[in-house]
């Protein structure tokens, strides 16, 4: 007997093609008037099962777990910090985590890992954490994949959280991918929406896929903790309430757990522009339409006045006008600022994949047919090199700079 997770019952299939039309992934084709599912393309989303009026598609359900999941309590947030500075994504996670914890009637806990960071625990409780697991040891002075993962694995095994959230940052993605494999947990990357299923109490994790062309909601019904990385700037930061108190639990971790095969030789901070685009509220981005690397100066001046980070299209990066760390789009960074100002960027689909979830998109381009205008909240048809200096001047007045 076939053990395929989804199959068409040929006797029931009438070849109506409803399922073929319903499949978001194009995994169903008609062969001799019978539906055939390409298992390698199928994501088991179940759209065809719902669409079929003849109950001709069966999806096998995974067997219920033998292990008891009721032991798993609390919502955890990995508090990312560098040099003792808590990254803002942590506050966004605490804001969202608070809602989830309240809905589940659980505690919200932050995990703070580093060296000489004891005084930072209060920042986390003032932002809504009921408990802070503090691991403060010299070996953990900066992020290293293995010891940080080992600490988190150790804590998860001991305290059994229900949900673990982490920022979808370079560090976050490297860290929790290791942790999830080690603790047999489901991990959903780059979530933009989190909610609790009112019936099952499972965490509903929504994320964009295919460059943001589709959204998928994902659950981990049989495994705990439920782990997710969350995109920057999507969730609202938790407000500060300095009167709020919480429990700080200092955990000592055995030295052998803290071993790292990798060592950091040096850290070189980015000097190009001090605003990190993944965290920026406003991004000013330049493309081929700027014509030369010198013209990025015009953007830099504008960005400085309005407190923006600098982004770039792939074309500008490939021409060596600006370092790769500024590239926005499918092969660069995905950003979600409140305002994204695209200057001389035509808006290829790969670029849109990296920025289309910005609250407000501004397009300045000479070509009125440029695709960027199709998604722009505000547009100006014109030369960015002429218009941007005017914006700089106007905003200087407005902001009193």
């Amino acid at each position: 007997m076939s053990n395929d997770p989804i199959k068409v019952i040929d006797e029931k299939c009438v070849g109506c093609t409803l399922c073929e039309k319903s499949c978001p992934f194009g995994a169903i084709t008609m062969k001799e008037r019978l539906a055939e599912i390409d298992l390698t393309t199928c994501t088991l989303c179940g759209a065809c099962v719902e669409a079929c009026k003849f109950e001709a598609i069966e999806m096998r359900q995974k067997e219920a777990p033998a292990k008891d999941l009721s032991d798993y309590k609390d919502v955890w947030v990995f508090a990312e910090q560098s040099d003792g500075h808590i990254e803002s994504v942590t506050y966004e996670l605490l804001g969202e985590g608070r809602k989830l914890a309240d809905e589940l009637g659980m505690d919200l806990c932050a995990v703070l890992i580093g060296s000489e960071i004891k005084d930072k625990a209060a920042e986390l409780t003032s932002r809504g954490a009921d408990k802070v697991y503090l691991i403060d040891q010299p070996e953990l002075v900066y992020f290293q994949d293995e010891p940080y993962a080992a600490v988190l694995i150790d804590l998860i095994k001991t305290h059994k959280p229900n949900i673990v959230l982490c920022g979808a940052t370079t560090i976050g993605r490297s860290l929790v991918s290791r942790v999830a494999v080690s603790v047999d947990a489901g991990l959903t990357a780059d979530c933009t929406g989190l909610a609790i299923d009112p019936e099952t109490k499972n965490l509903l994790q929504t994320r964009p896929a295919f460059g943001g062309n589709i959204m998928a909601t994902i659950v981990s019904p049989n495994n705990r903790p439920q782990m997710a990385t969350v995109r920057h700037k999507v969730m609202k930061e938790a407000d500060v309430d300095s009167s709020r108190q919480g429990e700080v639990l200092i955990k000592e971790i055995a030295a052998e757990i803290l071993k790292s095969r990798t060592t950091r030789r040096e850290f070189v901070p980015e000097t190009e522009n001090t605003v990190n685009i993944a965290e920026a509220n406003i991004i000013v981005s330049g493309g081929r339409g700027l014509q030369s690397p010198e013209n990025f100066e015009v953007l830099r001046e504008f960005a400085e006045v309005i407190g923006a980070g600098i982004g770039a299209s792939r074309a500008a990066v490939d021409a060596d006008w600006i370092p790769y760390s500024h590239q926005v789009g499918q092969t660069g960074k995905t950003v979600c600022p409140r305002i994204y100002i695209a200057c001389g960027i035509s808006g290829q689909i790969q670029h849109l994949a990296g920025m289309s979830s910005a609250d407000i998109i501004v397009a300045i381009n000479r070509d009125p047919e440029a695709p960027i205008f199709n998604i722009a909240t505000y547009g100006i048809v014109g030369n960015a090199l002429e218009i941007v200096p005017m914006l700089t001047k106007e905003f200087r007045k407005v902001l009193g700079k």
Binding site: I171, V181, N213, I214
Partner: protein, 264 residues
Amino acid sequence: MHFVVCIKQVPETTDVKINPETNTLIREGVDSIVNPFDVYAIEEALRLRDKLGGKVTAISMGPPQAEAVLREAIAMGVNEGILVSDRAFAGSDTWATSYTLAMAIKKIGDYDVVLFGKQASDGDTAQVGPGVATHLDLPQITYVRKIEEVDESHIVAERLLENGYESVEAPLPVALTVVKEINDPRLPSLKGKMAARKAEIPTWSAEDIGADPACLGLDGSPTKVVKIFTPPSREGGEIFEGEPHECAEKLVKALKEIVVEANA
């Protein structure tokens, strides 16, 4: 030395469009390509081989037609390709995928550096590279933008971070995920293309790699997709008309409040 590069076949996403009537992806006539990030991993593996000697093996987990990406890798200069393919892999999430690839790499046995693109362009998770490293108990350096030093026993690489980069040293064997900045991939040579046409590409099944069926495909995947939908489309915006300075003033007026707030 042996360099193993893991590659994935993905749809050429430029062509992924939504059918407005059915709200589904239109995939007809969409070509499949090597995941763009993996091309940098292939190139870096070739450069390591050219520097240190040895061979490069490319492996891909996917349907039978994913053989095509292995041929492309061979055309670029990779010595061997292995396709890991089995119906039992259907429904794999990143946990099961990492396990499957790790079991295949274990079967390869001797390896010094395992390379990955930083993420795949269809799933965008960036979880499989570190996942494989964990299953194989390897140290990892993710988001590598440059290899500074490498010899038979160690490597020093620059890892791109959000606020700069760090130089990281690791012993071999090691797993690396690479970003686009690392190199400028070569085009296939004529000789390479001929080798690619002739190459025999073995297919390894679940049984061949000695995998535990409970860890594969649907059964080995903790996560499950419950809903797929199209994001709400952005509403058509406002195009300011008039002289450039008038447009600029209108835009400043529209953005003023948020810019002031963001700077507060």
